[in-house]
Every structure is written in C-alpha cells, then in structure tokens.
Amino acid sequence: METGGPGLSAVHVADANAVTALGWGTDTLWEALLAGQSGLTPVQRFATDNYPCHLAGCVASLDPEPQTSRLDGLMEMVFDGIEPIPPETTLLTATTKGGIDQIERVVRGQETGRDRILGHTIADAMATRLGLKGPRNNINAACASAAVALALGAAHIQHGLVDSVLVCGLDLVSEFTFSGFAALKALSPEVCRPFDVAREGLVLGEGAAYVLLMSEKALRRTKRTSLGQLVGWGIASDAHHVTAPSRTGEGLVLAIRQALAGAALMAADLAAINAHGTGSIYNDAMELAAFGQLFDRLPPLHSVKGATGHTMGACGTIETIVGLCSLRHQCLPPTAGLRVPEYKAKNCVAAEAQPFSGEYLLMTNSGFGGINAALILGREASI
C-alpha cells in the first residue's frame, strides 16, 4: 500500500483507547457496537424533569470528589494501562467544554476548584500524567474538535516536523450542554436514530479516547505495530449558520475533497463511511446531501451516536478507533436506534452489521460554527 506520498511521511496509529458509555477499552467498544448494544440510559447526574429528553450516554463510576472535575476521572480511566509514550511527543487535547461541571458549580455558588476550566490546564494535567515534555495545546473546533486535532497532528508528522503526536478527545455530559441542546430543541425525546426517517434529534454522551500517531521511523524505534493509518484529512467551513449545518453540505464536501486530494484517492476508493450521524434532522440530511455529491453510489455507512450518544469534542477520536476496527474486521457495526432508513440512505445504512471489502474508510464530523472535518483511514500496515 502506498503511504505518505512523495517526500512525505506516512502517519500510523500506534496505540489507542476509549472509554464511553459502552465501557472501557477498544475491544469492549467494538464488541458492544457489533452486538448492537446501546449505552444510553436515564440520566442520574441531574434532574431532567423539565427537559424533553431523559437519556444520555454517561460513563459509569464517574462521580467526582466535590472539588474536582469529572474530566479527571475520565482521563484516569482512558489512560489506565497505557504503555509509556516517548516524552518528546506532541500532545493535542480536544474538547468543547472541558471541565464544564466546575463552571456549573461556580454559578450555583458551590465550593469548587477551577483547575479544569481553561483549555491548557487539561493539556497540562495530561502531560504531567503521561510524563510528556513536548509541545501541547488544546484544540476547540466544536464537535469536530478531535477530528481537527487528528488532522493537525497527522499533518505535523507527514511534514516531518515531529515523529509522534498524542491526540486525546474528551467531553462530559453536563446539565450545561443538556439544557442548551434542549433549548435549541435538538434533543431526541427517545433513543437517537441516526439516518432514520423518523429521527427526532440527538442524545448526548460523554467519553474520552486517545489516538497515538507515529511516523514509520518512530513506530520502528519504539517497536510498536501499526494499527492503521491516517492517509488524508480536510477541514472546511460552511460559512452558512452558527448552529445549523448547510442544507447542501458544501463545507463537508470541501473537507472530503481536500482529504481525498491529500490521500491521492477517488471517492470510489472509499469502502465505507463512519458518518457524524447525530440523529438530528438537519445534520443527517446535510451529510447525505454531501455524500450524494461525491459518490455515484454510496458505500455502506453507519453512525455510533445511537450507541454512545453524541460525545461532542471526543467523537473524532472515538470514531477513529471504531473506523480502524471496522477496517481491520472489514465490517461496519450496526447503527443502533435505526428502524427505517432515510430514503437517501436506503441500502447503505443498516441496523445490522455490514461487511465490506476495501482499504480505506471515510470518517466525518461537523460542529457549531459550520466547521467540518474529514479523515480518511487506511488499514494497518506491516512495518
């Protein structure tokens, strides 16, 4: 398999892990998705009586001490058992609202720390936990945060600026975001149903996932194996609306075209799609409109949001892991919640697992502000 392009380094995934409402670990995530399980359960963390939705994908055992943020618990869980990482590794965290539970307590006049409110404090804490001395930053690109961070990290490696980048996306279910999406009338009153003709909105989820990117040289030096590759990436804006996606999907089309060009691939080379698929009426319609402009015939596609909930800033790393598992097993997991596919998604989205055959998978995320990101994942390579 050709990788990297002339004069450019290939970008490999050397390690990854996720914690979501489906549990801890990539195998757990994959097996639960494949079994069609859903982690969406009634919210216990705050009262939902006045909201139209009562479900979310919360991570079990994430109740903090009063002074800390639940984010710290997520970080501890996702990095549990991680192999040592080269200390010079660049760290990119990705989150939309970080330690938002601390802001909630400030507003309520409750005693609280404020150590996870600013973005860099999350990256600093993670670097300390992992012994990383390299550059670090937090990327916020709304619900495309982790996908954008992966694109930037991969570009750094591809251009030979660094040999390893750790990207960690993480976000919490909080009353802040729950009430906000409810106010925007974006929450589903029942389980979310991505690409379903009767979908009514999204259901929030929380989680954390890291993806360790490495050059081939670093992979060899650290005696790791390639779990897959990032072969193309694109980022583009709709320039259309602050909270609603473009009806035509123009920004997503631009992002996918940029990713295809970078990977020197055609749309027909993409064997499957892990779509953003939030289950909101407009997002899913936008994605299908965009895909329809790029593919003569849509490949199998799916969304994890009916199983994990919409994990916002974390979804890009979580779904990259799912995409790599899909490529390895040559199979897309079921789209949980789906009953009757939207007309334009008929024959490509399913409530059952979908086998496919191919080397590349497209992963897309979009967010508030009209930001879109597209990643093209490749199968694991022998190094």
Binding site: I103, V107, R114, G119, N140, A151, F176, K185, G251, G370
Partner: protein
C-alpha cells in the same frame, strides 16, 4: 515557508483600527470601547447585539483585518481559514447562559446565549459574514507574545490546508477568572498568505521573521505591518 501579511486589524481598550486606517495601535489594558456592529460593517449585523464581549471584539478585529487587507468585500465564498488563540474565550457567556439554565430546572435556558457558548461561534459568525470556507478552529493561547493563533495558522499554510488565513488573538477579562488588571484585553488579527521566494516574511523552525528579524509577539507583528503599509503609501 515565505509569506505575506496583507493587513491587520484590532479592537483594544485604546481604540479600533486596521493597517490602512492610520489609527494608532496600542495593545492596552482596561475596558474596551463600546462596540456596535456599525463600527465594523456599514450595514450593521443583525445578531451582533447578542454576542458576548469576546465575540464582539473578535468579530470586529477580524472585520478590521480583512478591511486592512482589502478583502472585506466578496461575491463568491473564499477558502480562507480562521484561527484564534484565546485563554478565557467565551467564559463569561458560559456563566451568563448557565444562570438562565440553573433555575427552574432548565425551563428558562436561553437558546440565544447557548449558541455562543463555544469560542468557535465567533469564528462561525465571521465566516458567514465574510464568506470564509477555509479551516476554522480555536487554540488555547499560552504564548507569552499572544502568538498561539498565528503560529497555528502558519502551520495551516505550511501544510497546504489553505493558502490564506485570518488569524490572531482574542481575550477579554472574565467575571469568574480574575487576571492582572494590567493584562491586555481585546482582539488583534492579521491576514496571512503563502507567498513566493521574494517575500520578506518567513516561518521556519517555529520562528516567524521579517527581513531576518524575529517577530515574537502579536504587538510587534502589527507594528511591522503598519510600518510596511506606511512605507508602501497604503495608509
């Protein structure tokens, strides 16, 4: 990588301006001037009144930077990127929003305030107003010279993810995160493009230079842009 910096714009406590306005540039502390959309757009902006101070300052400085670069007007959308470095971002708006949500079990939560609880919303508004379809994102800016956003944007150019980007810094004082009152607040943006070998700006080994001299703060960057504009008779 060689580059051109075609213009700069700012909203600071000392005033509002751009690189062709002839207005003095001072990166100061204290309160920002009263901000209204007609200071930046002849026709005003229908949602500007809803913006928090962070978004008002950032949107205004982006408008000024585009005006300074002669890129304010457009007919077709353009693949120009938008990157901002900030620390506190829209924190005060977060607090204002959650005050509406924390009572009555969320029944009175404000959708208008929630729409601006991401620091990227300001970039989204600017992308809509000026037809900018390039990459857009926010970085946490801990650089001592407030260059975090500029550096991230320079990488976008280097990686070929866009050929022009509006990038800068935006931070306002926050009710719940007190900072030194002498710390600058406001927004400063510049328009950066890839350029040919004869260009005098360079981004190499994580160092921005102009005619070989290091430019390590956003304040210095704007001063050099102003000097160049004056030398070229563009003021």
């Amino acid at each position: 990588m060689k580059l051109e910096i075609a213009g700069a714009g700012w909203v600071t406590p000392a005033g509002i301006g751009h690189s062709r306005s002839g207005a003095p540039f001072v990166l100061g502390s204290g309160a920002l001037p009263r901000l209204r959309s007609k200071l930046f757009l002849d026709a005003g902006h229908p949602r500007y009144g809803r913006f928090d101070l962070y978004a008002k300052a950032g949107f205004g400085a982006i408008a000024m930077a585009l005006r300074g670069a002669g890129l304010e007007r457009w007919e077709c959308k353009r693949p120009i990127g938008l990157v901002v470095g900030t620390q506190r971002g829209c924190l005060d708006n977060d607090v204002a929003y959650f005050r509406t949500a924390a009572t009555d079990g969320g029944a009175l939560a404000s959708p208008n305030l929630f729409a601006y609880t991401l620091p990227t919303s300001m970039l989204g508004e600017a992308s809509i107003q000026f037809g900018l379809t390039g990459p857009g994102f926010v970085v946490d800016d801990t650089h001592v010279g407030r260059m975090g956003g500029i550096h991230a944007a320079l990488d976008l150019l280097r990686f070929g993810l866009c050929s022009t980007t509006v990038a800068g810094w935006c931070d306002v004082h926050s009710e719940i995160f007190s900072v030194d009152p002498g710390e600058p607040c406001g927004a400063v943006f510049a328009v950066l493009s890839r350029a040919g070998e004869r260009a005098v700006w360079q981004w190499e080994e994580e160092r921005l230079t102009h005619e070989g001299q290091s430019v390590d703060s956003i304040e210095r960057l704007v001063r050099v842009v102003l000097e160049n504009a004056e030398a070229d008779g563009r003021v």
